[in-house]
């Protein structure tokens, strides 16, 4: 990368970095704040000027860093003539605006915010003009929409400001979306997202059948941004912004982004009939319409806004012509429009600032009170009118010249006549700006006594007005940059000569007609204005508001229709959509030949199958009796476990059967607090609908299973089987996959399980602190309470079973690496053993004998598993690499010690802790609910009963038992 390339990166970065500062520096005062905002801008401008000589010689400076190469997205920038012109405009005017805003903003306005927004916007704009990657360009494009939203709505307390900002964001944002589509199509055709490559592929793109959609989408983006008819309406509403914003965004930069894009894409898109008719016509209509409306606007800024619309139309039209000379004219007019329009906006801002009104009808006669402002405003306005010796004249002359030999649908006169009318109206409103504001008698009813502002405020417009005159008198000074930019637009090697006098040409006649006609029109302004006010015309904002309201109503009805608060509706929609998609996929490709032999069905399995089907059907039809449904669910789970045994999945069978047990216990506990019956309330129609959906889903999933079960697949399991013993040290491949090959997954899963446990615990606590607690206390359990809650037999059996179950758990855990078993199953088995104690002797008794908190157990499990994994680092191996060895202790057989076992211990502890925490939380609710608690192993002591020979009923009264 060249030194210039480094500068390019800095230029792109500086405004964004600089945006961080003003918000902080405002504490040091307003002037310091303005300076910190000016420094990055000035630095960027200086770097641009250092690069300028090379670019003017025709070199292109590039810089590139790969960003997301998979997406074709790279942070690549380039600077050619067009980019240089725009970048200089952005930074140069940015500096002037920074100065102007320092004096314009009042003490109440948060200045730090303003400069931050301004720099963000400036960075986005600079990004657009120097991006070499269209995806990057699109990002910056959207950033300008966003940052301009902040700037337009800067005065948050003004409703017009907020509405204008929303409207601008909606229109330009929507256009930006369209443009993304168009750009992606272009990138697809060209096979690259780099502008440089796309610019080379013009032929292919114009020949492609996707050219027209791409063109329309991109033009939508450009037209919305550059306020072309019929999207012009947002610009006047954006004038609610502070004047520095209007001067910067709405004359010099953002609205020119659309024009810039059309110029940038000119070599690729221009030159076809579609381009000519769409772009030229839009530009022409916008130019005339904007100028016409501008003539009748009383708000100074609205007048300037519509005049900007008109001039943007002019630029669009010139680019639409598709000729090289027109491109030169467009580039030149971009510079000229920038100078006079920014000066005019600042003048309008000064007038507003000094007189406290922008209403032309309340102004007039200011030339004596504000001579400096008058001078600046007049020069700029006359340039806008196209009066000789000012720069506006030169480019307007070139425009008329081009218009005079453009045919439009076979008509030789349409374009020249319309262009002349546009120019004529432009003269009229420009002169109106001067005469109705500054000329005429001094009035005595200004809202505020005006005088010229301090130097700092008029310095920026004065500089621009000087430029207007200098370029107007000595146009050759601008030749270098115009040539470089025009060559970048057209891709040709042009040597235009900018002259004041072109001889007596049709353009001169048109110009004369425009000036004289404009003067006449202005003299008739009063009657015309009265007629204009009376005439009916569409109000863009009302139409826009209705459109937005319609869109909101539409999306609201769609959202509320789909999202009515009932989960059954979302699930129904989701199921139907999934089944439909699956069916479409099936219809699309069909199925291959079956390759597998079917296995025979032994009678035992057939019986199990019947049990499963009957139980499922029974759950569905009899689910209203909730307890019975739970029993049936248990049958299903057991049938599935048996199926796993038969189908060579012993580990799954073990897991399923133990999970089954804890699930049923959990549901039983929950059912204790829930209604025992589900009311029959679904109407028959709903049942039929749900039944149809359910059958479709079942048929779809079952059909899919039936389809793949008869076909072979390539599996990656061969690797696991081969390396299970050699690499993982275990013969139970499933367990080795869990603790070794896919150990990271398992690690994640036990964490999830632990979190679920904590979640339930937390929910329980939230519940017991809330209004539900009161309800729980008053709950009535009388009907389903057992007389003997902790029967002797059960207590004795569970005590005996406890050590046996623990030994079984330990056995299952230890053999897991080589035989079916492992941490998951062992954790569940031990959990069941503990649960039996809770069931047999009650919550309090068991709780008292608990040595370790379940929270701690979950935490320990995760930590042990994690440390085991990290231990591999000590051996210089990746996370969770396992090591193993065989140990021979004399009395026992040779056995294996593997780090994987330690990992499995973590799994074991987490599973045990999580399961116990879940069930513990549910049973705590029971205790809270005023249920009596026993501290002995049983509700009554059988020994005591015999010894004292007391009547049993006095002792079994639960209320007398201690808590």
């Amino acid at each position: 990368m060249s030194a210039g390339g480094h500068f390019l990166f800095l230029i792109a970065l500086l405004p964004f970095v600089g945006a961080l500062l003003p918000g902080l520096m405002i504490r040091a005062g307003r002037t310091v704040c303005a300076w910190t905002a000016a420094v990055p801008t000035a630095l960027a401008l200086v770097m641009l000027l250092i690069l300028a000589p090379a670019v003017l010689r025709g070199e292109v400076i590039t810089a590139e860093i790969d960003w997301l190469p998979q997406l074709g997205l790279s942070a690549s920038f380039f600077l050619d003539g067009l980019g240089l012109l725009f970048a200089c405009m952005i930074t140069g005017v940015g500096l002037l605006i920074t100065l102007y805003a320092r004096f314009y903003l009042s003490g109440d306005d948060p200045m730090g915010q303003f400069y931050t927004y301004l720099l963000l916007f400036q960075g986005a704009m600079l990004g657009i003009v120097i991006s070499d990657n269209i995806l990057l360009l699109l990002i910056f494009w959207e950033l300008t929409s966003l940052s301009s939203f902040l700037l337009i709505g800067y005065w948050k307390h003004l409703p017009e400001g907020r509405q204008g900002a929303r409207m601008a964001l909606t229109v330009t944002g929507a256009g930006g979306l369209a443009m993304i589509g168009g750009m992606l199509i272009l990138g697809n055709i060209a096979g690259s997202y780099n502008l440089t490559d796309i610019l080379q592929a013009g032929e292919a793109i114009r020949a492609s059948e996707m050219y027209l959609p791409a063109l329309i989408l991109i033009l939508l983006g450009a037209f919305t941004k550059s306020a072309q008819f019929p999207f012009h309406f947002w610009l006047p509403h954006a004038m609610a912004a502070p004047t520095p914003v209007s001067a910067y965004l709405h004359s010099a930069t953002m609205v020119k982004a659309g024009v810039f894009l059309m110029a940038r894409m000119w070599p690729v898109l221009a030159g076809t009939d579609a381009w000519f008719y769409i772009v030229t016509t839009t530009g022409l209509v916008t130019m005339v319409l904007g100028a016409l409306i501008a003539l009748f606007k009383d708000d100074l800024k609205a007048l300037l806004a519509f005049s900007t619309v008109s001039h943007l139309g002019l630029l669009t039209m010139l680019l639409g012509f598709g000729t090289q000379a027109a491109a030169v004219a467009a580039v030149f007019h971009i510079i000229n429009h920038l100078t006079f329009k920014a000066a005019l906006f600042m003048t309008a801002g000064i007038v507003d600032h000094e007189t406290h009104t922008r209403d032309i009808k309340r102004l007039g006669g200011l030339r004596h009170l504000m001579p400096v402002t008058f001078g600046i405003g007049t020069i700029a306005a006359l340039s806008m009118a196209g009066i000789p010796l000012l720069n506006g004249f030169l480019s307007k002359e070139m425009m008329l010249e081009e218009a005079s030999h453009t045919d439009w649908f076979g008509s030789h006169y349409a374009v020249p006549v319309m262009a002349t009318i546009g120019a004529l109206l432009s003269v009229a409103y420009s002169l109106r700006f001067v005469s109705h504001v500054f000329l005429g008698p001094v009035r005595d009813d200004y809202p505020h006594k005006p005088h010229d502002p301090p130097f700092g405020m008029w310095a920026a417009p004065a500089l621009l007005a000087t430029l207007v005159v200098v370029i107007g008198v000595a146009p050759f000074l601008a030749e270098g940059i115009v040539t470089a930019a025009a060559n970048a637009v057209t891709g040709a090697d042009l040597h235009p000569h900018l002259k004041i006098w072109h001889g007596v040409t049709p353009a001169l006649y048109m110009s004369v007609i425009a000036v004289l006609g404009g003067a006449v029109l202005l003299s008739l302004h009063r009657p015309l204005d009265a007629a204009w006010i009376k005439a009916p015309r569409p109000e863009a904002k009302a139409i826009f508001d209705r459109l937005i309201a319609g869109a909101v109503a539409l999306s609201r009805s769609a959202t509320e229709g789909a999202h009515n608060g009932a989960i059954s509706r979302y699930l129904a929609i989701f199921t139907v959509a999934s089944v439909t998609l699956g069916y479409i996929a099936y219809r699309g490709s069909g199925l291959s030949e079956t390759t597998r032999e079917l296995l025979v069905v032994p009678p035992v399995i057939a019986v199990g199958w019947v049990m499963l089907i009957v139980a499922t059907v029974a759950v569905v039809t009899m689910h209203h009796n909730r307890f019975r449904a739970l029993v049936l669910i248990g049958i299903i789970g057991l049938s599935i476990s048996a199926g796993f045994v038969y189908l060579s999945a012993p580990d799954l069978a073990l897991t399923q059967i133990s999970v089954e047990t804890v699930t049923i216990m959990l549901l039983l506990l929950a059912l204790h607090f829930l209604p025992k019956e589900t009311p029959k309330e679904s109407p028959i129609g709903l049942k039929l609908r749900d039944g149809a959906i359910a059958l479709a889903a079942g048929a779809g999933v079952g059909g899919l299973a039936w389809a793949f079960l008869r076909r072979d697949i390539e599996t990656i399991s061969g690797y696991h089987i081969e390396n299970s013993y050699e690499g993982g040290g275990g013969t139970n491949v499933v367990n080795v996959i869990l603790v070794d090959f896919r150990g990271y997954d398992t690690y994640g899963e036990i964490i999830v399980l632990g979190i679920a446990g904590f979640l339930i615990y937390a929910l329980m606590h939230a519940l017991l602190d809330g209004p539900a607690a009161r309800r729980l206390k008053t709950m009535d359990y009388a009907q389903d309470r057992s007389r003997d809650r902790h029967p002797l037999m059960m207590v004795v059996v569970t005590r005996v079973l406890m050590p046996i179950a623990i030994v079984v758990g330990a056995y299952i855990f230890l053999r897991g690496h080589n035989q079916p078993g492992g941490g998951f199953v062992a954790g569940l088995v031990v959990a069941i053993a503990l649960l039996m104690q809770y069931m047999a002797s009650g919550f309090a008794w068991t709780q008292e004998r608990k040595r370790i908190e379940y929270h701690t157990m979950i935490g320990l499990g995760v930590v042990i598993a994690g440390l085991t994994g990290a231990g591999a680092w000590l051996a210089g191996q990746p996370f969770l690499t396992s090591a193993y060895t065989y140990v021979h202790l004399p009395p026992i057989e040779e056995f294996e010690l593997a780090t994987a076992m330690l990992f499995d211990l973590g799994v074991f502890l987490t599973v045990l802790g999580a399961v116990m925490l879940m069930l513990y939380s549910l049973s705590r609710i029971a205790r809270f609910a005023g249920e009596t608690v026993n501290e002995g192993p049983m509700d009554y002591d059988p020994g005591a009963h015999v010894a004292t020979n007391t009547a049993a009923n006095t002792v079994t009264d639960p209320a007398t038992e201690g808590r």
Binding site: A566, V619, V620, S648, A649, D651, F673, A694, S724, L753
Partner: protein, 115 residues
């Protein structure tokens, strides 16, 4: 054998979906449990069915094994679906105790008790 597994998956799915679409929390939880069975068996079956080919390496030389990978996936899925069911049960319970109704749709619950 294949038709047995496929039909079981289909029936379990249909039952699960039907119950999921009910209006009370408890049937929805039951439906979720049925759907979990269906999904677990479905994933397990994606390794194709095999009899007497447990993925436990044999000490006695060559043997053929069923696909262990779906089994490992399903093993954790079974445990996780238990965790999910438990969370759902707790949420259902909490909403019943707070709102005094176990309906799953908000609007009807707002109308008051009709259960």
């Amino acid at each position: 054998m294949e038709i047995v597994v496929a039909s079981a998956v289909g029936v379990l799915t249909a039952g699960g979906v039907y119950l999921l679409l009910r209006l009370r929390t408890f049937p929805v939880i039951l439906g979720l449990a049925l759907l979990s069975y269906a999904v677990n068996v479905f994933i397990f079956a994606s390794g194709r069915l095999a009899i007497d080919q447990s993925p436990i390496l044999s000490k006695y030389g060559e043997a053929s094994y069923t696909d262990p990978l779906p089994q490992a996936l399903v093993l954790t899925a079974i445990v996780i679906s238990f965790g999910m069911t438990a969370v759902l049960v707790m949420i259902g319970l909490a909403s019943y105790l707070e709102a005094d109704t176990d309906r799953v749709d908000l609007d009807a619950a707002a109308e008051g008790e009709d259960a």
